[in-house]
């Protein structure tokens, strides 16, 4: 069993063991990740210290050679092969941001990545809609049947069981919901383009990769990790149908998606 300071969380089948000594932050995290709590032992230990506190579990974010270090506002993340450290966490939103960065790094080792995208389930398959802020991700979510939206902000895409799946995440934009810890095979990836009509256009492999790249949550500056990402996106776009979706702000958009 976990100690009272620990919180087991699994997002996209990536288990994390969050050590959060501060009770208030821990409770907020428990609520935020309620659908993603996992009591089983295991998972990467993540030692969290709030702003002003001292990290008693390692060397702090000064780190060692080979560690991945990322700084966000006044907080920072350090990751090595066996554990991660979050330092200077001020609130649950800061914790959330560091978890996103951490997940992006861990997923890169598991044929997965995080994408700025909304994901909607329909008949057991996942439809992924990507675009920058303002492209219409939350709009798509709001125009989808109740209970079908896995996220309107950050989608977790991962190769499992011989195919690409989209996983529910606790990362939300305007269309706030609890999220669901489920996954489904991806039916298609759609690049959002608001228009005066609803239609889809097939997008070539090269164009797909070019359109996906700016929307991937990617924080490493290492050559090999970048090279691996390029290979992974090539693999993804070669096996998942990619479309440009021209859509009006109406539910009728689903007619062209599932046609």
């Amino acid at each position: 069993m976990y100690s009272s300071e620990q919180l087991g969380v699994s997002i996209g089948n990536v288990p994390l063991r969050l050590h959060i000594p501060e009770a208030e932050l821990r409770e907020k995290a428990r609520l935020r990740y309620a659908q993603f709590l996992e009591e089983a032992q295991g998972g990467l230990p993540v030692f969290t210290t709030c702003a002003g506190a001292t990290d008693d579990h390692g060397t702090g974010t000064s780190g060692h050679a080979g560690d991945f270090v990322y700084t966000w506002e006044d907080s920072s993340l350090r990751l090595n092969d066996t554990q991660a450290h979050f330092e200077g966490v001020r609130h649950e939103y800061g914790l959330d941001s560091l978890i996103r960065v951490l997940l992006s790094m861990l997923l890169a080792r598991q044929r997965g990545f995080l994408l700025h995208a909304a994901t909607v389930m329909n008949n057991g398959r996942a439809y992924v809609f990507t675009g920058k802020s303002g492209a219409g991700k939350s709009t798509i979510a709001s125009l989808s049947p109740e209970g079908t939206v896995l996220t309107d902000e950050i989608s977790l895409l991962k190769h499992v069981d011989g195919g690409w799946h989209a996983f529910g995440t606790p990362f939300w934009g305007e269309f706030r919901a609890e999220g669901a810890n489920v996954h489904a095979p991806i039916a298609g990836l759609y690049f959002l383009s608001q228009a005066s009509e609803d239609r889809v256009e097939k997008v070539s492999l090269r164009e797909s990769i070019r359109a996906i790249l700016p929307n991937v949550l990617f924080f490493s500056r290492e050559l090999q990790v970048t090279q691996d990402l390029l290979c992974l996106l090539n693999e993804f776009a070669s096996s998942v149908p990619c479309w440009r979706l021209f859509f009006r702000r109406k539910r009728s958009l689903w007619n062209v998606i599932t046609a």
Partner: protein, 88 residues
């Protein structure tokens, strides 16, 4: 420039996708997509060929006069050099 050998910048990630080379700079996440001719030159440079050799191969591959091929090769290599994608 003709006897020079061009080296791909080893700090860049790249991959050929549908016949075009896509290059990413990890330092600033800038993405470059090369056109057909630049892709050809890139792949010859990767093989360690000199500028003159690349120009000769370009002439054969794209059926252009050797002088035109040399001019095109040098112009594209200057562009690749300016963008930091290759080093001489």
């Amino acid at each position: 420039m003709s006897s020079e050998t061009i080296t791909l910048n080893p700090q860049l990630a790249w991959r050929e996708i549908e016949g075009r080379v896509v290059v990413i700079s990890p330092a600033d996440s800038v993405v470059h997509e090369l056109n057909e001719t630049a892709t050809f030159i890139w792949k010859q440079a990767e093989s360690g060929r000199s500028v003159a050799e690349i120009a000769d191969l370009l002439s054969l591959e794209f059926c252009v006069e050797p002088t035109q091929a040399r001019s095109d090769t040098e112009e594209l290599l200057r562009m690749l050099l300016q963008k930091g994608l290759v080093t001489s």
